[in-house]
Amino acid sequence: MKLIITFLLSALFLFASDSNHLKVKVLGNILSEISIKEPIKIWSDDVKILAEFQHSSKFRTTKKCNEANIIILQRKSNLIQECRKKHIFVLSYDLLSNIQNSFGALFWKKGGPNIIILQPRIKTQSIQVSKNLNPYLEEKIW
């Protein structure tokens, strides 16, 4: 905050990095409230998100999608065939409809970030969620 050049001229960069950090914090918070059959190993097609997770001591990450068990997905085109059966958490609302295997989403709607976890899909995929995620559980896509 001390750097005036950042403060005045390059606020955009600060804004972007701070915001990405918080985004990953939200994602980390969600993932820490779920449990699957094995320890969580994350892959994401968003390199910034993956890089942030790499610095986290809570989660393991991988650079290969097929080695991960949780996928954080930005674009459908980045999801290769052999990863389609993994647990997928998406970053856009539309992907929840387009990717039948996706169990939850963090997305922007009406100017604010939203979280949604689809109950029927976590049940099918044997994902356990803690009660802290109860407010975000939905039976179906809105």
């Binding site: 001229l9 804004f15 709607k109 100017g111 604010g112």
Partner: protein, 629 residues
């Protein structure tokens, strides 16, 4: 009584509890707030109304924001249009306030004041509002203004939804708004439309009701592709009953104000931006009066006629080219703009006065540059200069200059200071030089006025508390003043001196709860508007309820009765607003709002007899339902 009030206002703070993930989402949302990306701290003394603020204030119209701005007072004009006056407004013309919607400046030729056209606009498509006071940046282009109001439309990539909102109020008014925004492939789009009918209390004079009821249609469309282009189209059309009109017995006629613009921006490699814009404007005014239209400058004289019919059209064309260079500690902007204003008086009937029409075409060539230089990591120098060449169709030309020197320093972790020295000009508008209603004469020879100003701001901010103290000293030469003898605007031979101070305190209890208190005072000899004012805003959340309390205070002031020349003391105003909203579910939100609940908001006089006193914001209750698809 005071204890009860304090209890009502602060109890919500005690019950505010957040889930961890919810708090994190709030923090994430705040970090992504669009104003953090668009605001320009070096461009002046900044006031920001974030999207969150606007929503919790239930600011439906721009005037809901205008009435809260320090150093200004919102008032009602005798023909049913609201206007905004500077602290201690003298006999000089209205302050040159610039209004932007995204990158487009609303250039009103016929009105000479963008707020006349857009002051009561609906802001459902607006994300946030930035207000720059105290010698705003030349980099904003066009002729410099005393205050710049920038409206930023919602970002489609964060909307991804369609919403509709309907409002009814206690005066049987209705307002219907719809917005659809999102992304399709690589393109972002936003479409918004609004239809409103607003009714007002009708004061009576000689058993005759004076109506300023208004209907408005508004639409905004935007399509863009990141780092490539953006096209915006906007239109607003307002029909207003004539209210007091220009005589003593108006027969229920109306006026029409319509404005449409298109603005296209193309971004090139190397931080080059090219903008092309065109706007068209129409003002139609028809006033029939049983006793005849009376010249306000000749109130004892004979009425000029029974009907007044005026229809003015104007067009503006603009082309702007900007280039930005960021190199080490330098941030350099250079740009040029060509603007052409055309005005056409299509109809001017009903008076025994032959109107004098001034130059109908004005070309403006502008060149500007701005350098922001980082002396070191805590100190910044800002310098900007602007040269504008004006040439009208009467072959009158002039070259105008504006300069600005700024120094911004982060004194330590919590203290910041901003200092600006400004020399700028105000070019007369078409209502002063080219075309005037039959109440005064035009003056094509009118020259621009010059303003020199020294202004500073000192800020303390520890993230929980924020205190801002601001001061400005202003000297105006050749002020554009109305001369009662010649019945036209002239360059005042007197130099005007002006001081003003303000102090603003904010306390952020947490993300959902904050309190703002602001006080200002202007020091000047003539007062035609309040010379001092204050604002209290309390933003609270109790469970799912959003509660907003607002008190706008404006000091008493003196007006002169145009008939008798006697002073009329206008009482101090206390405009109290309470707004409560509740999300029924993820799709439906219900909102309740009471405006001017004490019925003591600052008033002005709208008739020549000085008998009818009207507030800009009337007491009314509103209920709104918002549905998101």
């Amino acid at each position: 009584m005071k204890k009860i009030l304090l209890l009502i206002l602060f109890v919500p703070l005690l019950f505010s509890q957040e889930l961890l993930l919810d708090s994190l989402l709030n923090e994430y949302q705040d970090s992504e707030s669009l104003y953090k990306k668009t605001k320009k701290e070096s461009a002046g003394f900044l006031l920001v109304y974030s999207r969150e603020d606007l929503e919790r204030m239930q600011a439906y119209s721009l005037k809901d924001v205008l009435k809260t701005i320090r150093l200004y007072t919102l008032q009602m004009h005798s023909i049913g249009v609201s206007r905004i006056l500077n602290v201690g407004q003298g006999k000089s013309a209205l302050p040159p306030i610039k209004l932007y919607i995204d990158d487009f400046e609303i250039t009103s030729v016929a009105q000479g004041n963008a707020l006349d056209m857009y002051g009561e606009m609906d802001i459902y498509f607006v994300d946030h509002i930035e207000i720059y006071q105290g010698g705003n940046s030349i980099a904003f282009g066009n002729s410099p203004g005393s205050m710049v109001i920038r409206l930023y439309s919602k970002d489609p990539s964060r909307e991804n939804s369609s919403s509709t909102q309907i409002t009814f109020d206690s005066k049987s008014s209705g307002d219907f708004r719809i917005i659809d925004a999102g992304s399709a492939d690589e393109y972002d789009y936003l479409f918004y439309a609004d239809a409103a009918k607003t009714n007002y209390k009708k004061p009576t004079r000689n058993k005759q009701e004076l109506s300023r009821d208004a209907s408005r249609l508004q639409a905004h469309f935007k399509i863009s592709q990141d780092d490539n282009f953006e096209i915006a189209i906007d239109t607003i059309s307002t029909k207003t009953d004539i209210f007091n009109g220009m005589g003593t017995a108006p027969l229920g006629d109306d006026s029409l104000r319509r404005y449409t613009y298109i603005n296209a921006i193309k971004y090139f490699q190397g931080d080059i931006k090219l903008s092309l814009a065109a706007s068209t404007e129409r003002k139609k005014f028809f006033n029939s009066d049983a006793n005849g239209i009376q010249l306000t400058t000749d109130l004892q004289g004979t009425p000029t006629g029974n009907d007044l019919d005026i229809d003015i059209h104007s067009n503006t064309y603009k082309i702007t080219l900007d280039k930005k260079i960021i190199d080490g500690n330098h941030d350099f902007l250079i740009g040029a703009e060509f603007q052409q204003n055309r005005l056409k008086v299509k109809t001017y009937k009903g008076t025994n006065v032959t109107p004098v029409i001034g130059p109908k075409k004005l070309d403006i060539y502008m060149f500007y540059l701005e350098e922001l230089y980082n002396i070191n990591k805590n100190n910044l120098l800002a310098f900007s200069a602007k040269v504008d060449y004006y040439k009208d169709s009467f072959s009158k030309s002039s070259t105008e200059y504006a300069y600005r020197l700024g120094y911004i320093s982060l004194i330590n972790e919590v203290w910041t200071t901003k200092l600006f020295a400004i020399s700028r000009y105000t070019y007369p508008n078409a209502l002063q030089t080219t075309f005037a209603p039959p109440v005064y004469n035009v003056n094509p020879e009118l020259e621009s006025s010059t303003t020199k100003m020294l202004a500073g701001e000192l800020e303390y901010n520890d993230n929980t508390h924020r205190v801002v103290f601001g001061y400005a000293y202003k000297v105006i030469d050749d002020a554009l003043s109305f001369d009662k003898v010649t019945k036209k605007y002239i360059n005042s031979p007197d130099t005007i001196y002006f001081n003003r101070v303000y102090i603003r305190g904010e306390h952020h209890f947490n993300f959902n709860n904050k309190a703002i208190i602001e006080v200002y005072k202007g020091y000047k000899d003539d007062y035609y508007s309040p010379g001092a004012g204050a604002l209290v805003q309390l933003f609270n959340k109790v469970g799912k309820f959003d509660i907003y309390n607002e008190l706008v205070y404006r000091d008493s002031y003196i007006l002169v009765n145009p008939l008798t020349n006697e002073d009329i003391k206008m009482d101090a105003g206390y405009d109290y607003t309470l707004a409560i909203s509740y999300p029924v579910n993820k799709k439906l939100k219900v909102k309740l709002k009471g405006e001017n609940l004490l019925n003591k908001a600052s008033k002005t006089i709208i008739d020549t007899a000085g008998e009818i006193k009207i507030p800009a914001i009337e007491r009314r209750g509103l209920i709104t339902m918002e549905y998101t698809f």
